[in-house]
């Protein structure tokens, strides 16, 4: 077993003294309250977090609402199948991913090393990125013109100009939404994943 041999280092030694002060302060002044402990022990093993349950519920009820809407609006059968198929994929993947992450948290958090935990979380992040790129965005691209077309055929005597008047605002709205989404969520997420990957590689190389 190797022993610590950095005792001559000033910064680290100073940090060790500071660490001792912190530990002493925490020992004397911090109290884990009963409410915190109760909350921890009442969280069932394998139980999903509230926000995960909420995300799954949103996907499910969103699917029901949209399925009812496209049915009641009497859109073409093919369009209804297309929308329902996407909502179904969305719901199933959401459940699988939430369960997978939850399962990892339950089983591995206590025994896994930091590197493995990071790799697992990175895989989860990458999956979400790929899902957005290869499922959600293609769906939106196909959905908007198709939805406009479905609306147009319901209007008697509609022309190409009517179709364009419906399509252009929808495309502008989608483009604004996509830009905000990309800058606010997607790019930061990709940056974080790349950063973490670099750290993992650097750690393994050292």
């Amino acid at each position: 077993m190797e022993t610590n041999n950095l005792n001559t280092n000033l910064e680290l030694e100073e940090m060790r003294a500071q660490f001792a002060i912190l530990q002493q302060r925490l020992d004397q002044q911090v109290h884990i309250n009963e409410q915190q402990l109760r909350k921890a022990v009442t969280t069932g093993i394998g139980q999903m977090k509230t926000r995960d349950r909420a995300a799954v519920a949103v996907c499910f009820f969103g699917w029901i609402a949209i399925a009812l809407y496209v049915y009641m609006m009497n859109y073409s059968l093919l369009f209804q199948i297309f929308v329902n198929l996407f909502m179904c994929i969305n719901f199933v993947s959401s459940v699988i991913m939430k369960l997978h992450v939850n399962d990892f948290n339950t089983n591995e958090m206590a025994s896994s090393n930091l590197l493995r935990t990071s790799q697992e979380l990175l895989r989860y992040k990458r999956f979400n990125q790929k899902y957005l790129l290869f499922v959600s965005i293609p769906f939106i691209i196909a959905f908007i013109p198709w939805f406009c077309y479905e609306e147009m055929v319901k209007i008697d005597g509609s022309t190409t100009q009517d179709f364009m008047m419906l399509l252009i605002p929808a495309l502008i709205g989608a483009a604004i939404g996509a830009t905000i989404g990309l800058y606010k969520f997607y790019f930061p997420s990709v940056r974080q994943a790349t950063d973490m990957l670099e750290k993992i590689e650097e750690l393994q190389k050292a």
């Binding site: 680290l12 660490f19 302060r25 925490l26 911090v30 884990i32 591995e108 090393n113 930091l114």
Partner: protein, 160 residues
């Protein structure tokens, strides 16, 4: 309260400073308490499997760090203005306490400038764990730990 819950409570109370130390070094201000809560939940979930099979302190370090490392990325973009000491109500009252506060803040600032893995390595080193134990928790070899520590030392010198 059941026996298991009593054992868990006793263990957590005994090692509270370890839990808070890790959470303070991976989070800022008000986020510390949330991270402590998250760590307690993960400790409880793993408690049945733990059964004293390894050293309790090492196990707590492992769970706390795994929890923190997974939370860190979610909240990385979020900046918090309250200091961790303020948020935990740990600000000193007399002169000696003020000096200690300064020392704790220095430690906090230094550690927060390191990447997540380096942060974990240096904390485990400060806790006096052997290179083998550190390597085991982080997932790298003991040799790799010593290399990282040399690099961390260089990094800390530059930060001064």
């Amino acid at each position: 309260m059941e026996t298991t819950e009593m054992e868990f409570t006793a263990l957590v109370k005994k090692h509270k400073s370890t839990i808070y130390t890790v959470c303070m070094m991976f989070a800022e201000g008000d986020e510390v308490e949330d991270l402590v809560q998250e760590t307690l939940i993960n400790l409880w979930k793993g408690f049945a499997k733990f059964e004293g099979r390894s050293d309790a302190k090492t196990w707590i370090w492992r769970v706390a760090m795994n929890t923190c490392i997974s939370q860190d990325r979610k909240q990385k973009m979020h900046k918090n203005s309250t200091s961790s000491l303020d948020a935990l109500g740990l600000v000193g009252k007399d002169c000696q306490d003020e000096t200690d506060d300064h020392q704790i803040k220095m430690l906090h600032d230094r550690i927060h400038q390191l990447g997540v893995f380096d942060r974990a390595i240096v904390l485990l080193w400060l806790e006096n764990l052997s290179y083998d134990e550190i390597g085991n928790i982080v997932g790298i070899s003991a040799k790799n730990v010593s290399v990282r520590l040399v690099r961390i030392r260089e990094q800390l010198k530059k930060l001064k």
